[in-house]
């Protein structure tokens, strides 16, 4: 074993192997951190969009229920029913999570 360590070929291969392992470990850690960061950001956006979609779906259901009872609503082709709490939630959502929404959505919000 000691003779192997004295052999320059094995020394050279040892350096190469060490460098390769270090590079692999570094790349894995870096990749993991990049993936984790990107996934966290995506999850935040998904959470924001999920909240918005859920809110809009709820108001749409309420609107459909109201439309069955109201002829005015049916004639006006209105779809969503927003109560005061819904409006507050919608406003809070766009205020606190503006950075997660797309410009198209923000344009629709600011019309």
């Amino acid at each position: 074993m000691v003779e192997l360590l004295r052999d320059p070929v094995w020394q050279f291969l040892g350096v190469i192997a060490t460098a390769a392992i270090a590079a692999i470990v570094y790349m894995l850690q870096r990749r993991r951190s990049i993936l984790s960061y990107e996934l966290r950001e995506l999850e935040k956006r998904i959470d924001a969009y999920g909240s918005l979609v859920a809110l809009l779906k709820g108001t749409k259901k309420k609107g459909e229920a109201m439309g069955e009872r109201s002829g005015a609503v049916r004639s006006g082709e209105l779809t969503h029913l927003l109560e005061a709490d819904d409006i507050k939630s919608l406003r809070m959502l766009f205020q606190r999570k503006t950075q997660f929404f797309s410009s198209k959505l923000l344009d629709l919000w600011s019309v």
Partner: protein, 378 residues
């Protein structure tokens, strides 16, 4: 009737609610919320796709031929190419730094006979033993002066090398010669040159004898750009190899170097120089643009007659040394590039598949939680 709740406070909502109607104090309808919902749902789906891509579900399933989340351990052609690159680099490095060792097992022994004729009928002068390190050639040359004219003589040269060819010249006329290898391992040879009575009668009074002996490997240690010649002179004694050739070795004989001083010369290629490891320091050294030579004068007379004489000479070629450094550099590049590309092409995706596969379950759980939040809102 259009009524906006707290229009001053919720002016944005007021704009959204254009065209809305109210059938109660708390109820509003809006047209453009449908478009907002469509956009939100569309982007929500895109985000989910993106998340799946990053989590490594679709990316690798498509690369694996749409076989789902199968994990492949096969090495692609690119990977094999990179492995080949690494192996070539290792081979280049190994062939560059490897040293070929062939230490002469016995000393050189130069003999001439028969002694009675040597003492009275032949006179040798300027005996030289020249070892051309880069040509694997040994030249033994001397002036021969026949005092009594036509008398047969013989030279027996025991060399610790594997001889492959011998050319003996006397005044440019070939004389009979042969060589034999030892029966132990063939590492030593006995070169015999005969000057018959008929041949010696053709000789002039004083002529120069050349013996060109080509050996398998002359240098004891050989690397690219470096050749180390180790030569010892003296009687081999009871060496097995020498004893195995006793039948060919003619007796009686006299050691040449006891008669006259022996000049040993090591010749190197041009662009070469002798390193400081050379020992002992040569008595004469020629350094020119042509092949350079280092010469030692060895005397076996006097109080040191019974001792061996050894020289250790390392000749280095500058151009080949530069090439060796370049090859080491190139092999390092080949190996590092091969390893990097192999990691990039094969290992990183392979490890990433496993890492992503392990992380996928955690991320799926988190995603379900976000979906659960959405359902709660619903």
């Amino acid at each position: 009737m259009v009524r906006l709740i707290e229009e001053d406070k919720y002016h944005k909502m007021g704009r959204i609610m254009q065209g809305a109607v109210s059938e109660g104090s708390r109820e509003l309808f809006a047209h453009n919320l449908s478009e907002m919902q469509k956009v939100a749902e569309s982007e929500f789906e895109k985000l989910k796709d993106r998340w799946e891509d990053i989590a490594g579900v679709r990316v690798f399933s498509s690369k694996l031929g749409s076989k789902g989340n199968r994990r492949s351990t096969r090495i692609s052609g690119k990977g094999l190419l990179m492995i080949g690159l690494i192996l070539i680099g290792v081979f280049v490095y190994r062939s560059t730094v490897i040293s070929a060792y062939r230490i002469p097992p016995d000393p050189v022994y130069l003999a001439v006979g028969p002694p009675e004729r040597v003492e009275t009928g032949i006179k040798l002068s300027e005996l030289r033993f020249i070892a051309y390190a880069y040509e694997n050639r040994i030249t033994i040359c001397t002036y021969v002066d026949f005092v009594n004219g036509s008398k047969p003589h013989y030279f027996d040269f025991y060399l610790p090398f594997e001889v492959v060819a011998v050319s003996v010249r006397y005044n440019w006329t070939a004389i009979t010669s042969d060589y034999h290898k030892d029966t132990v391992d063939g590492a030593c040879s006995l070169v015999r040159a005969n000057i018959s009575e008929a041949e010696s009668s053709m000789l002039s009074k004083r002529d120069y004898v050349y013996l060109d002996i080509y050996v398998q490997q002359l240098s004891a240690i050989e690397r690219i750009g470096e050749k180390t010649v180790i030569l010892s002179f003296g009687h081999p004694g009871s060496s097995d190899r020498f004893n195995s050739m006793k039948g060919y070795f003619r007796q009686p004989s006299v050691e040449l170097s006891t008669l006259i001083p022996l000049q040993v010369t090591v010749g190197a290629d041009k662009d070469s120089f002798f390193s400081s490891e050379t020992s002992p320091a040569p008595d004469v050294q020629f350094l020119r643009s042509e092949p350079c030579f280092a010469t030692w004068r060895i005397e076996f007379s006097g109080p040191l007659a019974g001792y061996y004489r050894s020289i250790y000479c390392t000749a280095k070629n500058t151009k080949l040394l530069e090439m060796r450094e370049l090859r080491v550099f190139a092999s390092g590049i080949l190996i590092s590039v091969g390893v990097s590309l192999l990691v990039e092409v094969e290992l990183r995706p392979y490890l990433a598949r496993h890492v992503r596969g392990d992380e996928q379950e955690d991320q799926t759980t988190k995603n379900r939680q976000s979906h659960g939040t959405a359902k709660t809102h619903e």
